[in-house]
Subunit: 219 residues, 2 copies
């Protein structure tokens, strides 16, 4: 069976989520870079739209048992596929309440935070004369206040007790975004502590934006 091909951009937080899962589950994969800034964004090219009609990264091209290729898109759907196909190091807690909490924390990020500070939306706001950095910083700060309260009640070493779950996989890329937008993380000690703990994990380290094939070399 061919290795899955991941279409990714080093700094895309949605790509980052999928990279973490590929690493956590030790799945070998091929990396194809799609620059979201070069030539106005390679994700808009007709070539890439053939891969993903929505024009977003990530996308994952997989080969099924019959040798047929399929392109999967949307990060959480890709992650769910990887969980079903490669059940090792499961990222969904077994306890149903923990599973629901973990997915809710993930969703509060994937639907409640990231879409409101993603590149496409920020470009639109910028054209309307809105300060996109302030917008993102304010939005993330507001949502992290609620997230901090929730995590205080669910966390152990990680978001849900002491086992890495889908919540952690979404948290770390969102904290990375928060830092880019200069959110004052000292207001969020629980989020910060969990993210710092996760950054010690090798899978999270390998998935980090600073070490991808398309990461610009420091000048």
């Amino acid at each position: 069976m061919s290795k899955p091909i991941l279409y990714s951009y080093f700094r895309s937080s949605c790509s980052y989520r999928v990279r973490i899962v590929l690493q956590l589950k030790n799945i070998p994969f091929e990396y194809k870079a799609v620059s979201l800034i070069k030539d106005g964004g390679e994700q808009h090219s007709s070539q890439y739209r053939q891969v993903n009609p929505f024009g977003f990264v990530p996308a994952l091209v997989i080969t099924d048992n019959d040798g047929k290729t399929h392109t999967l898109f949307e990060s959480m759907a890709i992650i769910d596929y990887l969980e079903q196909k490669y059940p090792q190091n499961s990222i969904y807690p077994k306890d149903l309440i923990d599973r629901a909490s973990s997915l809710a924390i993930a969703e509060s990020i994937t639907s409640g935070i990231q879409p409101v500070q993603n590149l496409e939306l920020l470009k639109m706001l910028e054209k309307m004369g809105i300060d996109k950095s302030k917008w993102s910083k304010d939005w993330i700060t507001g949502k992290f206040q609620s997230l901090e309260k929730v995590l205080e009640t669910t966390c152990g070493k990680y978001c849900i007790g002491n086992t890495i779950s889908i919540a952690d996989i979404c948290l770390v890329p969102q904290v990375y975004n928060a830092q880019r937008f200069e959110v004052d993380m000292s207001k969020f000690p629980t989020i910060t502590r969990i993210a710092n703990e996760l950054e010690k994990n090798e899978a999270f380290q390998k998935a980090h934006p600073s070490v991808q094939p398309d990461t610009p070399k420091a000048s």
Copy 2:
């Protein structure tokens, strides 16, 4: 075991998704209305923040086998819980590729469309002098163009072949929103055909915003 309690607002598309699943799986539940407009929004009250710290509907209060109550929040996490707990009339396709496609279509709505036209964001844009109706209409129209293309390749009677799945559960409330924002649906024949087909289903009918306990009576 006590019936689950759904905190819902008749017109909230995220609540609508959960109502569809409760109806599809024939799960008896109690309905508690949370008005998103009364007194600036009951979801912001300290009372409701005790139920859901994020201050959103829906939330689902359930009682576990030990008699302990838990509050679940975020619509897709609630739906996943219902799928695990009540596996009848499954909403996740068995085939892994179909499952991934179904979840991707759902996610393209729950992360790609709905968050950019939700009430909180629109209020912020309005304060900045942006026409929120035009904003929502334009955003949904743009995203429906991609969704239409994807559905052309995956659909049968419904989004994925001929079985109702999580994609359909997210599609119908989003089409309802599109109609509220006067999106020209004639541009999207596949989306329209599928949504019309789903509206014949009794579970979708019972979950519709026009027939909820808190739906205002027509004057």
